[in-house]
């Protein structure tokens, strides 16, 4: 019976936490955006004239096909992240795309229409150099892969290896590139630096060496960056030091002939490495004789090689980008040149003559909030009258792809910077104009009775007017068919909704581009590209002023820090409109060690940001007189901590009234034993509703709610599986007191930590049992509170009680975060991003160190789930149902105006936004709530009472008469 009881009990508990979406709710509260990353290789599908596909291989190891009409994905394949899934080369032939992956580890062929895998083969080890399609008599049947020491030829149809040969003298010669002119020969070009160039010619048929030449070239070091094959097997190289071109006929055993740039009549810009651009439209034929030579940042030459002579066809200056494109038999050159400050113009030129084609101008308007164009991809096609038409895809510095067609219409843009979101914040939207007006009335200082009355009346009038116009709009919209009513969100009509469910997502990406995204629809409302961001920058986004302080605009501050030098800059902006604020941030000449927001506000309601430099001096922003005065008053209660993970030193400082600091505590974690991996504090906007937990015997166990508590996670330097450990230390950030110190033996990172309320949850890899485990630490003050009114780190002499329990988790995880609600009444869930792409909402109830091993009457009273060592993954806990989120790197949670609802954003390669209801929607009526039934019952009851009252009166009267 007890067994049955406990079963029923768990069943009831589990039922309580089920929160799946209904089929008709799909996409109602959530959205997903899929991204690719910065494009590395791109091919237009030229196999069919009507095809609308572009193949993209990116630096995020993604291979995808994008619809050129809409910019949507046809299909996408996400490979392993890191060098293992790195896409080295992309070759396309007909319906097949051949991809070399992971430094020449794998050779894959994809069917480009549906994105199916044709075949995949494992290549021999060796670092990848080059790959190329090999054609013979107008037929491309093979693909050649050149590695450091071997060359192999594979059939395009099934990937089988035709032959593999070791390269001669591979220990001396650095083989770098491959060339095939379609005559059944494979040329391999290698170089011995400062000495000579080695050319080996293989027969594509059987892999025999036909020829082996060595040519003196002491000036050559890197072939792919300085050479190109042009025309009938002529190798052309540039030598910037000698300021000349070198030419070599690969078919003959000869020497390089030198052609100085002066003989062409041009000069190279100083400090510029000239670049050659050639084109081979058909792999089974020779490259064209025309090629581009870039002589400066904005200087290109279109050259023609004829009979061993180089002729200039056209000089392009200024020209930003050039590209060849082929349509049918015609090859054209597209040249992008600056038009004015905000626009560029593109023109097509006949490649053979260098003549400009008529009516081919295309205007590309530069986004003032974007970067400069970086790459140009041209899709040329033949029109009905045999003229050449074209579309272009422009890639800019901020990783944006813009697809244009004549005369400059933008068909779509893809913001690929969003594939690498570093940090984000959610900001409340401002009130509508009328609401703001009302708010403003109370904000201002009172100026007389009459004026106030007038103001009140006027604002009431405005409200009335707004209400009438709203009614009119409703009436007007109701007459229209539903499909025509559009609720498009633009930056003009942004306003807070009733329950504050719609917010502005401010996202910071690694490329330095900032985005403002509407959380309801996912549309990008503003973007801003920050130039000159160092490649190894660390970002920290802080909300200094929220929208609550009308008429002061909200204000966000982004701290951008160069990780090597420590030098930092501040970017202050309005998070609703993305505009740079007119407030000038302080100059920071010293490296910054620490930054933090204080709860202090200046007279304009901006929170004070303190920056600590390497001289332990503090800079305040804003630094008005008011702020400095407040700082002086409160200096003795402002403490901060610094962490130097390289020395294992944690130290605490106290602010002095002159904004200098004094060292007050120091903790050393010896780096020989363990290294500090992460430090997690609590979120400042977190509310804890209940101070304690009611036990089975009606007594209260009080939580240890220390807002200054830090969870410091360390990993052992000894990685042997028997001796490795993960350490967790709970340190008070004010006093430096070590509250608790525990080691998880035979464990290894990566460790994911969540720190909230009175608990810390961390996940690690157990080397002994070879599985992922979760551990939870909870801190309690005991049965009575030490000081129930305020919490002060300086006055808590007794150490808290520490409870800990661990569980097995059946999957590895990529990110973890806890839900957050307005008042903290709703129970907490952990949101866990899994590598499989699911986002799991695991009730915190399952991670509770008080789960009893033996069930007692009291534990049942307390609703504790009996201990089970394994945490199960239940499919209905996935909040993103079938919407896979690839490579989740972070999860952000924000409270909404409804206590039951928490907004969740998961970001990684994709971005997914949804709402979760950890305790179900206890404060919301259901969608299908029967208003009609309830009101009709109410009315019926009302009338029934009226009638019965009347009847009773009549009856009384009659009785009185009797």
């Amino acid at each position: 019976m007890a067994q049955l009881n406990s079963l029923c009990f768990t069943f009831i508990i589990l039922c309580g936490t089920v929160g799946a979406v209904f089929e008709d709710q799909v996409g109602k509260f959530d959205w997903r955006q899929q991204y690719l990353g910065k494009v590395r290789f791109s091919h237009f599908d030229t196999y069919m004239q009507s095809s609308k596909k572009i193949l993209l291989a990116t630096e995020k190891n993604v291979f995808a096909a994008v619809n050129t009409r809409t910019g949507d994905l046809f299909w996408r394949h996400v490979d392993k992240s890191g060098p293992e899934g790195n896409i080295d080369a992309l070759l396309q032939h007909g319906q097949d795309a051949v991809v070399v992956v992971g430094n020449g580890r794998l050779l894959r062929s994809w069917e480009i229409n549906i994105g199916a895998l044709n075949w995949e083969i494992l290549l021999d080890s060796g670092s990848f150099q080059a790959a190329c399609l090999i054609g013979q008599q107008d037929n491309v049947k093979h693909v050649a892969v050149l590695k450091k020491t071997v060359i192999s030829l594979h059939y395009l149809s099934n990937g089988h290896q035709k032959w593999i040969e070791n390269l001669p003298e591979s220990e001396n010669v650095d083989y770098q590139t491959l060339y095939s002119g379609g005559n059944g020969e494979v040329y391999i070009l290698g170089v011995v630096p400062h000495s000579h160039m080695a050319i080996v010619v293989y027969s594509a048929e059987d892999g025999e060496i036909i020829k082996q030449i060595s040519v003196d070239a002491p000036w050559l070091s890197n072939i792919p960056s300085s050479c190109a094959v042009v025309g009938n097997g002529m190798l052309i190289c540039v030598d910037p030091t000698a300021e000349s071109l070198y030419m070599l006929d690969l078919h003959e055993e000869s020497q390089f002939t030198q052609i100085p740039f002066q003989s062409l009549g041009y000069e190279v810009s100083p400090d510029f490495h000239p670049v050659l651009v050639s084109t081979q439209p058909n792999q089974a034929r020779q490259p064209l004789s025309e090629f581009f030579l870039q002589l400066g940042h904005e200087h290109y030459l279109l050259l023609l090689l004829s009979n061993g002579q180089i002729v200039t066809l056209r000089d392009f200056k200024p020209a930003m980008l050039v590209s060849f494109a082929t349509a049918g038999e015609k090859t054209v050159a597209a040249v992008m040149s600056p038009k004015n400050k905000t626009a560029c113009s593109l023109n097509l030129y006949n490649a053979e003559t260098g003549r400009r084609l008529l009516d081919t101008t295309l205007i590309f308007n530069l986004d003032p909030n974007g970067g400069q164009p970086e790459k140009l991809y041209v899709q040329a096609f033949l029109k009905k009258d045999d003229a050449v038409g074209y579309r272009v895809m422009v890639q800019t510095e901020d990783h944006t792809l813009t697809f244009l067609q004549q005369p400059g219409r933008v068909m779509w843009t893809r913001e690929e910077a969003l594939s690498d979101v570093v940090t984000m914040e959610m900001v409340d939207l401002p009130l509508t104009g009328t609401q703001a007006e009302l708010e403003g009335e109370f904000g201002k200082k009172a100026d007389g009775l009459l004026a106030m009355v007038m103001k009140r009346l006027s604002s009431q009038l405005i409200l009335l007017q707004a209400w009438i116009s709203h009614l009119w709009k409703l009436f007007y919209d109701a007459r229209k068919p539903r499909s025509q009513v559009k609720n498009e969100v633009t930056i003009e009509n942004l306003s807070r909704d009733e329950f504050n469910l719609q917010k502005m997502m401010v996202m910071v990406t690694a490329s330095g581009k900032l985005f403002g995204i509407d959380s309801k629809t996912g549309s990008i409302l503003w973007k801003h590209y920050l130039e000159n961001i160092p490649s190894n920058a660390a970002f920290k986004l802080m909300v200094q002023r929220t929208t609550a302080h009308f008429p002061h605009p909200p204000q966000c501050t982004l701290l951008i820090k160069d990780k090597d030098t420590g030098l930092a800059t501040l970017h202050v902006f309005n998070p609703i409109f993305g505009k740079k604020s007119h407030v000038s941030p302080p100059a920071l000449p010293q490296p910054i060690l620490q930054s933090f927001l204080l709860p202090l506000m200046d007279q304009d309601y901006a929170k004070v940001l303190l920056l600590v430099d390497d001289q332990y001096k503090v800079t305040a922003f804003p630094s008005t007189k008011n702020v400095l005065q407040q700082l002086q008053e409160t200096a003795s209660s402002i403490f901060f901590y610094l962490v130097d993970a390289s020395q294992g030193r944690l130290s605490g400082y106290r602010l002095r009234t002159d904004l200098s600091t004094v060292l007050i505590w120091e903790v050393f974690v010896p780096t020989e034993v363990q290294k500090i991996v992460t430090i997690k504090g609590k979120r400042p906007n977190e509310h804890v509703h209940s101070q304690g937990r009611v036990m089975g015997d009606r007594s209260v166990l009080y939580k240890y709610l220390n807002p200054n508590l830090l969870a410091v996670v360390t990993e052992s330097t000894d990685l042997h599986q028997e001796r490795s450990f993960v350490g967790i230390m709970l340190i008070d950030g004010v006093t430096g007191r070590i509250i608790h110190e525990a080691v998880q033996r035979k464990a290894r990172g990566p460790v994911h930590v969540v720190h909230s309320e009175n608990w810390v949850v961390y996940e690690y890899w157990s080397t002994k049992s070879r599985r992922n485990e979760f551990s939870v630490i909870e801190l309690y003050e005991g049965m009575e509170l030490y000081n129930s009114t305020t919490f002060s780190s300086l006055d808590r002499p007794f150490a808290p009680q520490v409870l800990q329990q661990s569980y097995i988790f059946p999957s590895s995880i990529s990110a973890v975060e806890a839900t957050l609600t307005e008042k903290g009444i709703t129970s907490r869930h952990l949101l866990i991003g899994l590598p499989s792409g699911g986002i799991l909402s695991l009730p915190k109830m399952f991670l509770d160190p008080r789960r009893p091993e033996i069930i007692s009457e009291q534990s049942r009273e307390e609703n504790l789930i009996p201990y089970a060592p394994e945490l199960l993954i239940r499919t209905e806990w996935f909040i993103n149902y079938n919407q896979t989120v690839s490579r989740v790197r972070g999860i952000y949670t924000a409270p909404s105006g409804l206590e039951s609802t928490c907004l969740v954003v998961a970001y990684g390669l994709d971005i997914y936004q949804t709402r979760v209801y950890p305790s179900k929607q206890f404060d919301v009526l259901k969608d299908d709530y029967d208003y009609m039934l309830i009101s009709s019952v109410l009315f019926a009851l009302f009338f029934a009472t009226m009638i019965s009252k009347r009847l009773a009166e009549v009856k009384l009267l009659n009785r009185a008469w009797r």
Binding site: F668, V669, G736, R745, L794, R796, E853, Y867
Partner: protein, 250 residues
Amino acid sequence: MARLLRLNFAVVSSILLIACTDFVFCNNGRRVGDSMETEFSGFSVPLEHSYEVDDAARFQVRGSLVVKAGREPSASLIQNQLSEEDRTKLREVAAVDGLYRIRVPRVFLQAERQTDRQLDGHLTAFVRACAMVESHLSDVITLHSDVSGNLIGVSIVTIPGACSGAEVEDEVDLEVFNTTLSIMAPVTAPGPETALFLERMEQESEKKGKNPQEQKSFFAKYWYLILGGAIFLMATNSAQPPAGGAREQS
């Protein structure tokens, strides 16, 4: 090699060092020197304190910590008395809400030789000077060590910890330290408890086994239903005249 040995030793000893906290009360107002070797393989390190009106660090010797190294390290404290001058200064610092700081050098508790023990740098902690005064110099000092026996942190709290502004009699209360000293090693965090759970499951299944009512198989439980269903099916089949069959014949 020596290093490896040391590490091994450290691991072995630290396993035995789980949550060993030794409380030593020491309140002997003896004057002691900076450092002294004790007879039982212990060694001593200075405990210094600093309290200045301008919060600058001017550390002076407060006493010496005698640490008994080994598998279960323990420590005792020999402290000096506060002089008249010190007491006045402490009260002055307390009046301006200054800090009372202590520090100990970083040491390695399990080293064999004296030279291996000392690492450069100090571990520092603080309390408010007023708390020190109002608690009549009764403080709790905890030394925290890591897995291999390095001292990583020190903490000090006074009991009671609050500064309520209570008056303190000078001579009697601010002369002698009343210190509780302990060494804390990290606790080993528990792993998932599978053994106990399995045991419980077994017990439950045994319980189930004892109950013959629940042990019955599916067929044993519902034989009558299945039989009834089968009979019903047969009956309906035979009752229906084979119309299709008739057509076949024709």
